[in-house]
């Protein structure tokens, strides 16, 4: 086969063509560079694969949260349980599915029990993010790519916003809206770190 540069992509998918590709690359600098990059990607990609605690942490948190209402159930009568469930369902629908041209409610205050659970969930969330950041952080900080710079900028903004919101929520701890916004920012940070990890693997 008379191997040409245009055959390189096909050769990468077809192992039988690789000897020809390598022979061609010995004479062609462009293809030699391409082959080297592919080899590097193949070498580095498995090392980028990481399992971290959050994969198992969140199912555990969810399970523990699901278990909490079960314990409390025995304290309420069946009628009250139904009433509470209906109220919670309606309110949940209002919060999560509020239609266009409406605003999220901002006049709810938490109970002690709810605040305790929310703070536990927030702490778990923050710990998960810290683990994620510990894995992603060093690579992210040293990466010179424009995409990494954008991620760094976003994470800096998120950290700043989280700090400001935590300060405000500390003064007004039972305000449900502030807690909801804090959860939203934590979620955004977690997603941002996960996206960067995916992009880093892809590139």
């Amino acid at each position: 086969m008379i191997f040409q540069c245009g055959d390189l992509e096909r050769a990468l998918r077809t192992p039988e063509l690789m000897p020809d590709a390598r022979a061609h690359a010995e004479r062609c600098e462009h293809c030699r560079t391409q082959l080297y990059l592919w080899a590097e990607i193949s070498r580095v990609a498995p090392e980028l694969h990481q399992d971290w605690e959050s994969d198992r942490l969140w199912p555990r948190i969810q399970a523990s949260l699901m278990a909490e209402p079960v314990k409390a159930r025995s304290r309420f009568s069946p009628f009250l349980r139904l009433t509470l469930a209906a109220a919670a369902t309606i309110a949940l629908a209002v919060v999560l599915l509020y239609p266009r041209h409406t605003m999220p409610p901002a006049d709810e205050l938490l109970t002690d029990a709810a605040l305790s659970q929310v703070q536990q969930a927030e702490a778990a969330y923050a710990a998960s993010i810290a683990n994620l950041a510990a894995v992603a952080g060093p690579e992210l900080q040293k990466s010179p790519s424009p995409l990494s710079a954008a991620y760094r900028e976003k994470l800096t903004m998120l950290d700043s916003a989280i700090a400001a919101l935590k300060t405000t929520a500390a003064q007004n701890p039972y305000n449900a809206y502030l807690r909801s916004e804090l959860a939203s920012l934590y979620g955004e940070k977690k997603r941002t770190l996960e996206e960067w990890m995916k992009d880093a693997k892809r590139n």
């Binding site: 040409q4 949940l92 266009r100 409406t102 938490l110 709810a114 916003a161 919101l165 449900a176």
Partner: protein
């Protein structure tokens, strides 16, 4: 996770049994606000909802909810929140003043939420600023500045020049008769049915703009941009996001990086740039210019000329009324149904041109060249094709005479059409006439064959 926390929040709010004590307080005040004077609102940790009416007065309603371990602390907390209203020659200034830090000594776990509901004259200018809360403004027929953070902004049915600022919150503007400027960060922006110009600056958020009466300027980063039905010019800059423009009645300019660009239904010209992502265009009225880097370019139906330049990606352009200039590096070039002159250049890729109306020039390296004529054109169509390391195959319009000059170093030259040869005849060069001659057909190759076909 947010859902989990939301469930907790909502379930907790719904629960009747609670150790905390909760009290509410209402504040109501009505003040005159004559024509020409404005309303200024400063708020924090709660929503602002503003409606308008035809009366020359402002109706202010504040709803406060406070909770604490003891009912007296909760009550004192609500009493400590001040709703300050000042009248001046410029208008009405409303602000909520939260207790200072000294207030919290001895009152453990005090919390509060304050919402403002305001009815104001529809013709009064507005400045509404908040922190950690959403703002909604409906049917205001005067200029406004609306700013918040960590909250949503809704601005509906407005009239006049509007400025909306937000961070970590979504912005939605619908039906404004006048210009709108939106500055957001980390939030989704949706703007629809704006009769004036629309300027949007957003980073890390998706932008959707539709039904814009005048100019649309978008400066985005790290988010997708969708622009639909814009009557004025469109200028969009973005990075790491997909940009889509549909149904634009004037010129479109898109400068993207690392993101897809798509433009469809543009009445004016389209200038589309990106890198490391494809560019697609269709139905461009006046002409298209594409600059890509590591980008595939696919487009069709252009009312004027098409200039496409890319690298490491193929070019496929069809249906160009004007001239087509298609240049590439390390990629194929295909141009079909080009009404004007066609120029193609590439390296390490093939060139295919079909149904070109005027002069054809191809300057290729390390790739094949195929030129097919529809046979419909009966006029002289000069053709100049040059490559190395690839075959040249050309079909010429029927009934048109050509002066043929063909040369190759390692290959053969064949012709399915009769050629009256001038001078020397050799397998690697040919000089002569097809028909009566008169039109240029220049074919240069090295390391490849040359075929002239029907």
């Amino acid at each position: 996770m947010r859902s989990v926390i939301s469930v907790l929040l909502v379930a907790a709010c719904a629960a009747a049994a609670s150790a905390r004590q909760e009290v509410t307080r209402e504040f109501q005040k009505t003040l005159p606000l004559v024509s020409g004077r404005s309303l200024k609102v400063e708020h924090s940790q709660g929503n602002i909802t503003i409606h308008t009416h035809a009366k020359a007065e402002v109706d202010i309603h504040a709803s406060m909810k406070c909770s604490a371990d003891r009912v007296e602390d909760a009550r004192e907390g609500c009493d400590g929140i001040k709703i300050l209203v000042e009248e001046s020659s410029s208008g009405v200034w409303l602000r909520t003043q939260l207790p200072n830090s000294d207030f919290f000594h001895g009152r453990r776990n005090l919390s509060w939420a304050i919402n403002l509901d305001i009815d104001m004259p529809d013709s009064a200018p507005l400045e509404a600023r908040s922190h950690f809360g959403s703002i909604s403004v409906t049917d205001l027929h005067a200029p406004a500045v609306v700013a918040t953070n960590n909250g949503k902004v809704l601005f509906i049915g407005g009239r006049g020049r509007q400025r909306i600022e937000d961070s970590f919150g979504d912005v939605e503007v619908a039906r404004n008769d006048g210009d709108v400027t939106i500055v957001d960060s980390n939030g989704r922006v949706t703007a629809s049915d704006i009769t004036g110009a629309l300027e949007i600056r957003d980073n890390f958020g998706e932008i959707n703009a539709s039904g814009i009466g005048k100019r649309l300027d978008v400066s985005a980063g790290n988010g997708n941009v969708n622009a639909t039905s814009v009557s004025g010019s469109v200028t969009i800059s973005d990075s790491f996001g997909k940009v889509m423009v549909r149904d634009a009645k004037a010129d479109v300019t898109v400068q993207n990086q690392n993101g897809i660009v798509e433009a469809t239904g543009v009445t004016g010209t389209a200038d589309l740039r990106t890198s490391f992502a494809p560019v697609r265009f269709s139905r461009i009225g006046k002409g298209v210019t594409v600059h890509g880097q590591n980008s595939e370019v696919i487009g069709d139906t252009v009312g004027g000329p098409a200039t496409v330049d890319t690298s490491f990606g193929s070019i496929d352009v069809r249906g160009v009324k004007g001239a087509g200039r298609l240049t590439n590096q390390n990629g194929n070039v295909r141009g079909t149904d080009i009404g004007g002159e066609a120029y193609a250049r590439t390296s390490f890729g093939g060139v295919t041109l079909e149904d070109v109306g005027e002069r054809i020039t191809v300057d290729s390296q390390n790739g094949s060249i195929t030129v097919r004529s529809s046979g419909a054109a009966k006029k002289c169509q000069p053709i100049s094709l040059s490559t190395n390391f690839g075959p040249i195959k050309v079909s010429i319009p029927q009934g048109v005479g050509y002066d043929v000059t063909a040369r190759t170093t390692f290959g053969r030259i064949t012709s399915q059409l009769p050629v009256t040869v001038n001078g020397q005849v050799g397998g690697e060069s040919l000089s002569g006439k097809i028909g009566g001659g008169g039109c240029e057909l220049r074919l240069n190759n090295s390391n490849g064959s040359i075929d002239i076909v029907n």
